[in-house]
Amino acid sequence: MSDIALVREKAWQEFEQTGLPTTRQEEWKYTSLARISSVLGEAWWKEAAASDIDQATVDAYAIPEFDAYRIVFADGRLQSVTSGFPDGVTLNSLSELLEKDTQKAATALQWNVQAPLFNAANAANSALARDGVCLCIAEGVVLDKPLYILHIASNPGATHLRHGLWLGKHAEAHVIEHYAGDSAEAGLTHAITLVHLADGASLTHDRLQTESLHQFHLGRLDVAQKRNSRFISHAAALGASLSRLDIAVALDEAGAECTLNGLYALAGRQHCDHHTQIDHIAPHCTSREHYRGILDGRAHGVFNGKVVIHKDASGTDSKQSNANLLLSDKAEIDAKPELVIDHDDVQAAHGCTVGQLDENQLFYLKSRGLSDEQARQILTRAFADTVLTGMHSSAVRRFIEQAAFAKLPGEIASEIADELNTAAVPE
């Protein structure tokens, strides 16, 4: 039996014994996964049927005018991949590795019996994942264009994806994971991404979730950072009926820095949960976290941001904030910043706000001739933009903004979308 077969078996046993997390567990208090099995059935984990999608379909979902290496998956299976990567960059699909090089799959995707399963939902992924991306970048190599990973969900059933991003010393890359779809039938997308950054490596990671409003989405991003490495994450959760993203960053060695930014824009009865944990294990590491949420209708948001400063982490510098804008009195947010400090010599700040649009700001804009709707859109957009301004790619940022504002009341004119904040003074 290969290593991976062993891991799969062990993970499956774990999953069968424990089942999905329930709201009795603190970490899942506000997010019930019971709806997944009630909608998809007891065998909710069963794979979605394969689909074959054409180029026009891919283009319809993809970020427009975005120059990137592109790898596309449809219902959990590799569809197409661009070629021409520079020397020192290897990109394999997991399905390819499972046929040709299980040892590499076991290493790069941390598929070994010692690796943590995180929880029973993730255990199902370990047991069942059949495809994903394995990106390895050699020491000192810079990926010249972003890598755009696009997944399109069309069929009912579950999809278990597993990605590994390995950057050698001083390697650099920008990777975008995008989960899309607009199926009228419910399905589950479950994606785990494991990131390893060696000394001085730098990864910019954007994670976009624009799935169908019938879809369930479970995601996990697990990052291990070595000395002086940098990780910059932007997570945008806009789609799915129920979504949960767990991000765990371990600042393992001195000088590592991470930035976690996120935006959730929810409407209708959407439920969206972000749980993040940053572990300051080594001294002199820096973390910045800024999440913002816009909630309309009867949407329910959950944000739990945990920062743990371990006993050896002297000189830690950590800041975290979470702000929420409620556009409806039926929308709800459960926000909880958590700070656990086992060391004195640290700088740590966190804060959390929940509010409505500011009446004084609204009146000011209207007194200058902007309509009520226009004023509300502009203020809402300005609120969201705060967490998007640092994004590396303007094409990705514009895509997120348009997707986010299209679903809020009174679709924002694209003219406004283009001008605000970028209305530089021409010379």
Binding site: Y364, K366, S367, R368, G369, L370, S371, A382, D385
Partner: protein
Amino acid sequence: MLKIDDLHVAVDGKEILKGIDLHIGAGEVHAIMGPNGSGKSTLANVIAGRDGYEITAGSIRFHNNDLLEMNPEERAWAGVFLAFQYPVEIPGVNNVYLLKAGLNARRKAAGLSELDAIEFMQLVREKARLVELDDAFLSRGVNEGFSGGEKKRNEIFQMAVLEPTLAILDETDSGLDIDALRVVAKGVNALRSAERSIVMVTHYQRLLDYIEPDAVHVLADGRILKSGDKHLALELEKRGYDWVREEANV
């Protein structure tokens, strides 16, 4: 141009304005002076259409339209402009963008075509020079991180760009040092014209040294107790407000 008749306004059931009569003709500059809490800012806010005020009696007509029936943006389109006592900071909303949206909304309401980007930037640059506002301020968030004086200059700058027919300056002079006051006054004077009326709400006579009013009104206890010309302001400066109250038997 502006006709306020027997205006009564209450806030949370408490009457603040108790029958204001004020007529302002085209091209005139009126100063409204009075002690703290007399209702000056209430009057300015009611003309601009801010929420939270209950009009219990009376009318405001502007160019023969019922102003009280219009929402704030419709008033702006009709040519009303309020320079705020406390200009609001709006991070993330670009100063120039706001002006462009506001100006084009007004032009659209008047049946005019929108200005193109080049025409608009020429206009904005010219007006920024008028109040000695550095170009760097144009692309910043609205009032974001501006000093008190910069905020007030920004209000006059906005007024210069939007070219209202009725401008209400709500304590635009408060918190300004003498240099800033001169700059603001220069901006206001440059905008005086036969078509534009200006209402200045102020505590102090000081502003009127720089912007000479056609009429001065004393607002106290929710009523206009006395009206006169610029000499009334000088007298108030010397004698305070109590004698006006006594004279009016309040």
